[in-house]
């Protein structure tokens, strides 16, 4: 038995001991304890240090609004800073550490800040640290940053799992106190599908702090267990989003000593609710008086919670400060338990009092103590020796979620609180969250609201409880109390006290939102759950206006903080995004390919062979082999789209800038697709396989984009055209077979005449393969060689590729990857998205002739003639070669006129692509250079300031090999 644990009572399993440690000290509690209650039971009241002044702090609440008792829990990759001890269920072996103190919680040097506090008032940063000018970044800021934050995050990998799920229900009930339970029961009895979520470890809310209500609670829970209700304890609903979707986090295994690797530690719920009842209760307001932060001072409801749930007495002698009846009730309960109440200090009239403790009408002046409370000085009155204070400043309904979608809270004179409209689309508010008080009244209200919610969706329910009168009258928020000197804390964690707010108002930051930003009141991890209402009252007084006029700052998600882990779910590490593999992946792998990420794809980049020492060596070999003999490259990642329909030709004619209407069956054509603004969107070849059937290829990057674009054009722009589209990217394995020997090799595989006459350049047909399947063969070339692309059904891809390799072995065919492909296309001056960068028009790339002047319409036609798109100074595609063949050209270098100073004004363009050409034996590049098409032969400087390089070079034609296209047509 530890010092503060009562001999009986509580919702604890006293038969079992749970060992844990705090700052290395070994302690024990019981199942049913929170970390906070277990610490209190062990007499550990000093739990934390505040942010700015490093003031000693204990716990002030027993729930999720806790601003003070934040600790670092767990170890290594499971380390969690800033964890509210009030929300952590005790488990065997739990390790907790205090934060923001050095060298120890008891002796913290940072507390010296408190001595300077008169200079460190609100907003002091903004007015200081400016002299001398250079000192801000070198001296002041590093010091400030070192003091930042409370806990330290781990830098290690998290060993645990997370997951996400959806739930759909007729009614979501948020909060399982009296109102929420009544709502859930009412709805479930009516046959509705119900989700009941509560952040607590046990369902019951405020009923848990009232032993008299326990039998009824047990009964309700037992009945709910038999109905269509998903009970989600340990689940915090953190946000209300459009479409009545709520975000929630379930702490599935956070309370277990050894989380099972087969289950998540946290689960993110997106709950799509037809209707919701918000029954989140009310938060008790602290009283704002000098020294109100000394360990030992907590709210009355927290005191009651620790007493009844965990049988922990917060002190030996408790003084109760109350405004309204809450403190009277607590005093009676404590005395009934045989605990000493030093005094009952009531601000106004309360109910009659027959207890032992003296009843004092007055207000607190100052609490006295350091790391632990010693006494309370009544303003203008007696000093009361006490080691604990329970305070009640009235209640604020918890309306956060109801205000997440733009609704502003409104001040209610009747309730003396800010309320959200009780009826909103999709959401009703019930019980204490609507300003009501008393269990019976809340049960009745919850039942009534659930009935109303179901009526909105056409379901009939009978309230499980009838209406009942309330048991207290609303209390006004207090603001700051008393004239006694000393810091009266409003925002505990951020150390904002009443005077900070008064000064902020005097300096012109009187608007609630400005005061918050200037003083940081309400910006701590509790988001002002306790303090904002008192801040509003203080600002109202400072401004000489009403609290209604001042208002509250905006409520926003998250109701309480949510881990990145829960929000990320399973998407982490290598599973961040799915992997796409080409149908030829296995084939490439068997040849030892190196792969490279290209979007979601893995593409074979090069195929190293024994003895090759670097990628360049492999790539050079592949390029030369293609140019001399033949190679096979996997081009399956190109987008492939099947286009059918009587109007398919007309459709393509409107999609491409060049003509497609007259493309003969059996032929392929290279096409340019523009955006409506005239700039090039994508390019590729499209083949006519039948009168009403085309096969389009797109670039890898825009496969999905082009498909979407075509669908838009077909469905939204020209629904009258008879055209049907199907993405076939994954259906076909496609391989380029390129090189002077390509024909003779392919002829061994393909069962059709491939002679130049029978299958000329740009022929495109379905062809039988000797193995018995049908493929699609296109005589197109990206490399500039005699080349074909052969598409076969994806499942046959690897077998066909292997067969071609075998067939080409006598000629020395090689597999080549995307790197060699890039070199080959640069040598040939073919463009990719490096050149088609979203800001070029066809003429920039020397493709002006591909813009039809006869078609009445195509996408991009109408804005192509604008001044800016026809300006002769526009960048145009050129080739670049270094004057000194030993010098490498780097992509991303800029082009300067020879002799020009390196300034932005003199910038002539930039290198879009570059490669070492093994064929030419030196570096080559493509570039977009102002007026470039007229500048072939000009000497320029290739400027790469990032590498301190300025390389003399010459602009050339962008075609480095076979300018007459003899190889293509061979």
């Amino acid at each position: 038995m530890t010092s503060h644990r009562l001999p009986t009572g509580g919702r604890l399993d006293r038969s079992r001991r749970v060992e844990f440690s705090f700052d290395g000290k070994q302690l024990a509690g019981h199942p049913g304890d929170t970390l906070a209650s277990a610490l209190l039971a062990n007499g550990q009241r000093l739990m934390a240090r505040s942010f700015k002044y490093h003031r000693p702090r204990g716990v002030v609440t027993a729930g999720s609004a806790e601003p003070n008792a934040l600790m670092t829990i767990g170890r290594e990759g499971r380390t969690e800073p800033n964890t509210r001890a009030t929300m952590v269920e005790l488990y065997q072996g739990l390790e907790a550490h205090s934060q923001n103190r050095w060298p120890s919680l008891d002796h913290d040097i940072g507390a010296l800040n408190g001595l300077l506090s008169r200079f460190l008032g609100a907003g002091f940063y903004y007015k200081t640290f400016m002299w001398p000018a250079s000192f801000w970044e070198k001296v002041y800021e590093p010091i400030i940053r070192r003091a930042a934050g409370l806990g330290r995050a781990t830098t290690l990998q998290d060993p645990d799992r997370y997951e996400k799920t959806w739930a759909h229900c007729d009614l979501l009930v948020i909060g399982a106190g009296a109102a929420g339970l009544a709502a859930a029961l009412t709805a479930a009895r009516a046959g509705a599908s119900v989700v009941l979520a509560d952040e607590g470890m046990e369902l019951g809310g405020g009923l848990l702090s009232d032993p008299a209500a326990w039998p009824q609670l047990t009964e309700i829970l037992a009945e709910l267990a038999t109905l269509n209700v998903r009970l989600l304890p340990r689940t915090t609903v953190f946000g209300w989003y459009d479409g009545n979707v709520f975000g929630a986090v379930e702490r599935v295994q956070k309370h277990l000593a050894a989380p099972s690797p087969d289950a998540p530690v946290e689960r993110l719920w997106r709950i799509a609710a037809r209707q919701a009842v918000l029954a989140t209760g009310a938060e008790e307001r602290p009283q704002v008086f000098a020294g109100n932060d000394i360990p030992g001072i907590m709210t009355a409801s927290a005191t009651a919670s620790y007493l009844h749930r965990q049988a922990v007495a917060p002190g030996q002698r408790t003084t109760i400060l109350t405004q309204g009846p809450a403190g009277f009730a607590l005093a009676a309960q404590m005395e009934a338990l045989g605990l000493e109440v030093a005094a009952l200090v009531s601000l106004g009239d309360g109910p009659s009092w027959q207890g032992k403790a003296p009843l004092i009408r007055g207000i607190p002046g100052k609490a006295i103590g350091g790391k632990s409370l010693k006494a309370l000085q009544i303003e203008g009155g007696a000093r009361i020796e006490a080691d604990a204070i329970a305070m009640s400043g009235g209640f604020s309904p918890v309306i956060h979620l109801a205000c997440h979608r733009g609704t502003r809270p409104v001040w209610s004179d009747a309730r003396q609180a800010f309320l959200a409209p009780v009826e909103q689309e999709g959401l009703l508010i019930a019980g204490a969250a609507a300003g009501l008080s008393g269990h019976a009244a809340c049960l009745g209200d919850g039942a009534a609201r659930a009935t109303a919610a179901l009526a909105r969706i056409g379901l009939r329910a009978t309230p499980a409880f009838g209406p009942a009168p309330e048991d207290t009258i609303a209390q006004p928020p207090l603001g700051a109390l008393g004239k006694t000197k000393g810091k009266k804390f409003v925002d505990y964690q951020n150390d904002v006290h009443a005077r900070d707010l008064i000064l902020a108002a005097a300096e012109g930051y009187a608007d609630a939102e400005l005061a918050k930003r200037y003083t940081t009141s309400g910006m701590a991890t509790d988001q002002g759950k306790l303090g904002n209402i008192n801040a509003a009252a203080i600002l109202a007084k400072a401004r000489g206006t009403t609290i209604a006029e001042v208002g509250l700052t905006t409520f926003r998600p998250f109701y309480t903080p949510v881990s990145f882990g829960a929000l990320a779910g399973t998407s982490r590490g290598h599973d961040f995004q799915p992997v796409r593999r080409s149908p030829l992946h296995g084939w490439a792998e068997s040849l030892g390919a190196e792969f490279v990420e290209t979007g979601l794809w893995y593409r074979s980049a090069w195929f190293p062979r024994a003895g090759e020492t670097g990628w360049r060596q492999s790539v050079d070999r592949e390029v030369l082999t293609v140019r001399r003999a033949a190679g096979l490259c996997d081009v399956s990642t190109l987008g492939k789209i099947e286009i059918f329909g009587a109007d398919a030709a007309e459709f393509l004619n409107r999609i491409y800038s060049n003509g497609f209407a007259k493309l003969p069956v059996g032929r392929a054509r290279y096409g340019l697709m523009l955006r409506e603004d005239g700039f090039i969107y994508d390019d590729g070849t499209t083949s006519r396989l039948g009168e009403d059937h085309f096969y389009m290829t797109t670039t890898t990057a825009l496969a999905a984009g082009v498909m979407t674009h075509l669908e838009f054009c077909a469905q939204a722009l020209w629904p009258d055209l008879d055209v049907r589209l199907a993405s076939a990217t994954d259906q076909w394995a496609q391989m380029a077979v390129a090189g002077p020997m390509a024909r003779q090799i392919l002829q061994r595989i393909v069962d059709t005449d491939l002679s130049n006459e029978a299958f000329p350049f740009m022929a495109a047909r379905e062809v039988p393969l000797k193995c018995g399947i049908t493929g699609r063969l296109f005589r197109i070339s990206f490399s500039g060689e005699l080349a074909y692309e052969l598409a076969v059904p994806a499942g046959y891809g690897e077998a066909v590729a292997a067969a071609i390799m075998t067939a080409g072995a006598p000629e020395g065919i090689c597999a080549y990857g995307s790197e060699a492909l890039a070199v080959l296309r640069i040598e040939k001056g073919h463009v990719t998205h490096a050149e088609i960068n979203g800001t070029v028009v066809p003429a920039d790339l020397g493709m002006g002739k591909m813009v039809s002047t006869v078609k009445p319409d195509f996408i991009g036609k109408h804005l192509l003639d604008r001044e800016g798109l026809t300006d002769p100074a526009r960048p145009q595609l050129v080739g670049v070669v270094p004057l000194d063949p030993a010098m490498p050209l780097r992509t991303g270098s800029h082009v300067l006129a020879k002799g020009a100073e390196a300034t932005l004004e003199n910038d002539q363009g930039y290198l879009t692509s570059s490669a070492h050409s093994p064929h030419l034996g030196h570096s080559i590049a493509l570039a977009l250079v102002a007026g470039g098409s007229q500048r072939h032969g000009e000497e320029v400087v290739v400027w790469d300031g990032l590498n301190d390089a300025a390389i003399p070079a010459r602009l050339t034609s962008p075609v480095f090999i076979d300018p007459k296209n003899e190889k293509l047509h061979a």
Binding site: G243, T708, E711, L717, P856, K861, H862, L863
Partner: protein, 87 residues
């Protein structure tokens, strides 16, 4: 934006299955004056209130839709197929 969009073909589906393109504007006639094309491509009424937009059910039926919704409240009033009544 509504978390669920009622696709006329698939029923209410999570918003993440859809891709938005922007204002649902009729494409000018091919012979429309260039100023009309400039306005079509670049200028937007951008109202605070009701707005018709093109959305694509890209993770579903792949139909283009016209979504009528409110840019201030995110309420969705109606969703129709962009091709009109045809498909």
């Amino acid at each position: 934006m509504a978390s669920l969009i009622p696709c006329p073909h698939c029923g209410p589906r999570p918003k993440e299955e859809f891709t938005v393109r922007g204002a649902a504007l009729p494409r000018p006639a091919p012979n429309a004056p260039v100023a009309e094309w400039q306005a079509h491509v670049y200028l937007r009424e951008n109202p605070r209130g009701d707005y018709a937009e093109h959305w694509h059910h890209s993770g579903g039926c792949r139909r283009w839709l016209v979504v009528n919704r409110n840019t201030a409240t995110h309420a969705v009033h109606s969703v129709t197929d962009a091709a009109g009544e045809r498909p």
